[in-house]
Each structure stands twice: as C-alpha cells, then as structure tokens.
C-alpha cells in the first residue's frame, strides 16, 4: 500500500494546487458570507453546515479527479505505465485514495464555515408555515462531516466510473446527478428526508411528519417537523463503506482474482447492511417524532 499512498499523495497535492478549486472555494465563501449575514436565513446556514456549501467546489474537484484518472489514457502512457510494478489495479486504489484530498478541502471549508458562523446550540428558529416556529438545531459532528465524506465518496465514484467508461463525457451524467441531488434532496429546506433519501451522499436530515407540539389543525402536517440527528452517524459509516466498495469496483476492472472479488463482495455486503440500517433508523426516528 506504500506505492498507492505515494500516488494518492502526489495526485492529492496536484488537486490542492488546482487554482480552479480555490476559485470555486472563493465563490462558495462569498455565498456562505451572504447566508451568514443578517439577511441570511436559518435554513441557508443549516444547509451550508451539513455539506451543501461544497457542491460547487465538489464539482470542480470531481472534474479534476476525472481528468487525473483519465490522464494515462489521454496522454497515451498506458504502454509505459502498464509495465511498471504498480499496475492499473493498484493505480486505481491510488486514485481512489487521492479523493481524500477532496475530503480534506471539504473538511477545512466546513470548519471555516463553522468558525465564521459560531453557531449556538440552536441555529435559529424557522417558520415552515408562517404560523408556527420550529427550532433548527446546530448540526452535530456527524452532520458536519457529511459534506467532506460525501465529497470523498463522489470522488471515488468517479474514479470507478472512469475506470469502466474511460471518457471525460462521464461529467455529463454526473452534473445531472448533482442537480438531482441538490434540487430534490437538498437546497430546499422544506423537502422532507424520506428513508431512501439517505442513500444519496448528502441528506438534509429534516424529518417529515406531524409537527412536534402541534395543537391546532392549521399548524399540523408541516413538511418539516424536526431533525434526525441519529441517522447521520449511520450515514457516515455508509459513506465510508461506499468508498471502499467503489474502490473495489475500480480495482476489478483490471484485476479479477479471488482476493479482489472477496474485497468486492465483503464491501458490498457492508454497504447494503449499512444502507438498510440507516433507512430503518431514519424511519424509526420519523415515527417517534410523529408519535410525539
């Protein structure tokens, strides 16, 4: 694994040196500053903290990872690299590990956002119905780590995709998926998080159901009644398992021995188990909140 780690380090440093990443970060910082100003709403602050602020730099980093994974092919270096001791399978691991640099950028950005906002235990109060307010809590550690972890998972996902479909055109469906993720599973605070939403990398964690404390018919049946702060821990574990499984997907493109398939199978089993656990946990939580 030393060579893979060395390759990941080199590729990671190249990602961090990409000026476009920092341009995207500057644009994000500007947006977040707007969210943090007096005109910024509580939902914008919440979404920024749970990872949605990282969508733009994430897209740039994903593009970088696509191009770096494709580099040996686009530069016609495969014949040379193909006879080196570290073969294409191990290079896939190195490229997948280099996505950790994207996670690092995400973690630093999230930490910076957190320090700028200095949130209290409550981010503020939000009025989903313009009649009654709900408290929006400060995201817990698992929620704060969701953005960086999602960046790593998406990074490893593109490495796996590009290993199987070696063309930069994979950016097109990826941009589409990003919009689906952002529009239907985030950005709009009021969109509730159903159980299956947890299968996406970024989740708002807002719970749908009867609003806690509902007393009058007018205030009941709100789209958001609370925030799931338990499932995010399972979601983090799910994202980690997803990263491992996607790495094995990239590896089996070039290596199909028993060990590679065993890693593929075990990690897939972990992904499925954690996916089920997080969906069940989230459903249980929703029920509890609704029952209260």
């Amino acid at each position: 694994m030393i060579a893979e780690a060395g390759l990941a380090r080199t590729e990671g440093v190249r990602l961090l040196r990409n000026p476009l990443v920092w341009v995207a970060m500057a644009a994000t910082a500007n947006m977040v500053r707007g969210a943090d100003s007096s005109s910024g709403s509580v939902d914008e602050r919440y979404l920024a903290l749970v990872g949605y602020a990282l969508v733009l730099p994430g897209l740039v980093m994903v593009l970088h990872l696509i191009l770096s994974t494709l580099r040996s092919r686009s530069c016609r270096s495969e014949e040379l690299l193909g006879v080196l001791p570290v073969g294409a399978d191990r290079r896939s691991v190195g490229h997948a590990l280099s996505a950790l640099a994207a996670g690092l950028v995400g973690a630093v950005a999230t930490m910076a956002i957190y320090l700028v906002m200095r949130p209290e235990s409550m981010l503020g109060r939000w009025d989903p119905s313009e009649q009654s307010m709900i408290n929006v809590p400060r995201p817990n550690l698992a929620q704060l780590m969701q953005g960086p972890a999602a960046l790593v998972a998406i990074g490893v996902f593109v490495v796996a995709v590009v290993r199987w479909i070696p063309t930069w055109l994979v950016i097109v469906p990826l941009v589409f998926l990003t919009f689906v993720q952002a529009l239907f599973f985030g950005l709009f605070f009021g969109v509730p998080t159903g159980g299956l939403s947890w299968l996406w990398p970024l989740v708002t964690g807002s719970v749908h159901g009867e609003w806690f404390g509902c007393e009058t018919a007018a205030g009941c049946g709100l789209p958001v009644s609370g925030f799931d702060r338990i499932t995010p821990w399972w979601h983090l574990a799910y994202l980690v398992a997803l990263c491992v499984w996607l790495t094995t997907v990239a590896v089996v493109r070039h290596r199909r021995d028993r060990r590679a398939w065993a890693a593929f199978g075990c990690s897939l089993a972990a992904v499925v188990a954690l996916a089920v656990i997080q969906v069940m946990t989230s459903d249980t939580y929703t029920t509890i909140v609704s029952a209260v």
Binding site: T10, R76, S77, E78, E79, V83, P85
Partner: protein, 286 residues
C-alpha cells in the same frame, strides 16, 4: 550460463497475421540492437520482452522469470527499464514530477531517497537544469531524454528501448551512446533502431528482423562483413549495383555484385543491412 533473456520458438500472431515467427534468442549483458524495416516485428519483440504483450506461443524467460506468471511478471517489472516507441509523457507535469511519478509506480517508497534517485537520473541524461520545467515546454530531444531518465530509475538489469534516438540531435546521440554503453557494462540493453550508425557505434550484437523472422544474428562487424567485396565506388552509376548514391565527393557509391576491376571499399553496417534487405535470403554469422 543464465541468460537475461531466453526465448525458444517464440511467436506472436495478431489474428491471422504472423508478427513474430519462431524466435530463438539468448541475451546476456551488453547491448543488442534490433534492425529491420517497418513491420519487421521489432516493436512486437520488445513489447514481449517488456511484459507489455504476451507471446502467442513458445518459451520465454526474462531475468530467470516466466512473464506468464503474475509473480514472475512483477519480478521482471521491478528490474526492467522500458522506453516505448510512444512514451506518452504528461505534458502538464514538470520533468521532475513525471519521473517522480514513475518512481512511485516503480515502488520507490522512501520519499527523500526517491527524490535523490530522480535527481540522479535527470542529471544522468543531462536534464538537471530543466527539471522544474513543464514537459510541454521541452524540445523533442529533451522529452526523449525524460523518457530515458524514467527507464534508468533504480538501475534496471534489463533496459528495453524502442527507437530511443529518434529526435535526438547529433550531440545528444553521442551523449546517449556514452550513457548507454556505460550502463551496459553490467546490464542487458536491447534497443531497436533504424539508425545503423547507432548499432555500429554501440552494439555488441545485432539482430536483423524481417517479416517476423531473424535474418541476421551476429556482431556489427559481421553484419558489415555481409557486404565485404560488394561495395565499390566509381565515377559514374554502375548498372550492376542494387543500390547506389552520389557521395559528397562527387563519386558514386555502389552496393551489389561488384564488377571485375571495381574499386572495392570497406563496407559499413549500413551496407550489410541494405544487402540483407536487398534480397539476400538468410544470413547467419558464424
């Protein structure tokens, strides 16, 4: 004696076309040059030796290992330096970064030792001063030397070079010869080239291929000897010649069956090679 490269009846087919036909080779230390026209099978043979390509049939051992076995292949790759015909350098990398990248993939784990090794090979190919330059800004000859530098990483036992002198100016070619001859004192170097002067100047052994077959295997002097008594000069073009050209001195140099009384001169490797390609069926040096 253990040979660094050992082949018996080595063949390679691409569909119905036969790229290599029953090649028998035993190569030890020293420099072996492969000569042959385009499509003769030189690159195919080099790719097989470099484990880039698997043979269709026959026996092959490189550095005592069987490249058909994953463990053997890995062991060969750890002791191999390879410059393919088309290297595919990373234009956005500096010379240092690219060679360092290859060094990582050659399992040079310790970072400071690796960087020292990268600096060493870049100095060796005379690129120390431009190591921080982006590859896209380097000349064609410099790029070729970057390719050579990565092959020299780790002092490989077997160096496989596919047309390494293409794009090098005369001075760079001399430096290349100096570098490779120094390296070959204790290593095996196999190179393919169209430049017979390089073969003459560098190689201990020359193998000429044509249509996938070995048509000559011997020393450069023996290859030149193929043309002994068959190269002559005259003031005008001689109809007996297979090939002839006007020299800078205004005389005509001829290769073929010299007529009686012709002014026969000492042949070169190029003369012997031209005769091989000119219809001499198969020549094997004693």
């Amino acid at each position: 004696m253990d040979h660094i490269v050992h082949t018996r009846s080595l063949s390679k087919r691409y569909g119905k076309s036969l790229a290599l036909a029953s090649i028998d080779l035993d190569l030890g230390t020293g420099i072996t040059g492969l000569l042959g026209p385009n499509g003769a099978g030189k690159t195919t043979l080099l790719r097989i030796l470099a484990t880039s390509l698997a043979p269709s049939s026959g026996e092959l051992r490189v550095l005592g290992q069987d490249p058909g076995e994953p463990a053997g292949r890995l062991e060969i790759r750890r002791r191999l330096g390879y410059v393919p015909q088309e290297v595919g350098l990373y234009d956005n990398f500096t010379a240092f970064d690219f060679v360092d990248y290859v060094a990582i993939l050659k399992e040079h784990a310790d970072r400071s030792a690796r960087h020292a090794e990268v600096r060493r090979v870049l100095e060796e190919v005379d690129l120390g001063d431009v190591r921080s330059k982006k590859i896209r800004k380097l000349s064609g000859g410099m790029k070729r030397r970057v390719a050579l530098a990565q092959a020299l990483l780790g002092d490989p036992t077997l160096l496989v070079l596919d047309e390494p002198t293409v794009g090098l100016d005369p001075e760079q070619r001399l430096r290349f010869r100096q570098l490779i001859s120094r390296h070959a004192e204790r290593r095996c170097v196999v190179l393919s080239t169209h430049m017979t002067e390089d073969v003459e100047a560098l190689c201990d052994r020359v193998i000429a291929l044509d249509q996938g077959r070995v048509v000559f295997d011997g020393t450069p002097a023996q290859l030149a000897g193929v043309a002994a008594g068959r190269v002559w000069v005259a003031d005008s073009i001689d109809a007996h010649a297979i090939v002839s050209w006007r020299t800078g001195e205004g005389r005509h140099r001829h290769i073929g069956e010299a007529p009686a009384g012709a002014e026969v001169i000492a042949p070169t490797v190029q003369d012997g090679y031209l005769l091989l390609n000119g219809g001499v069926p198969e020549v094997t040096a004693a």
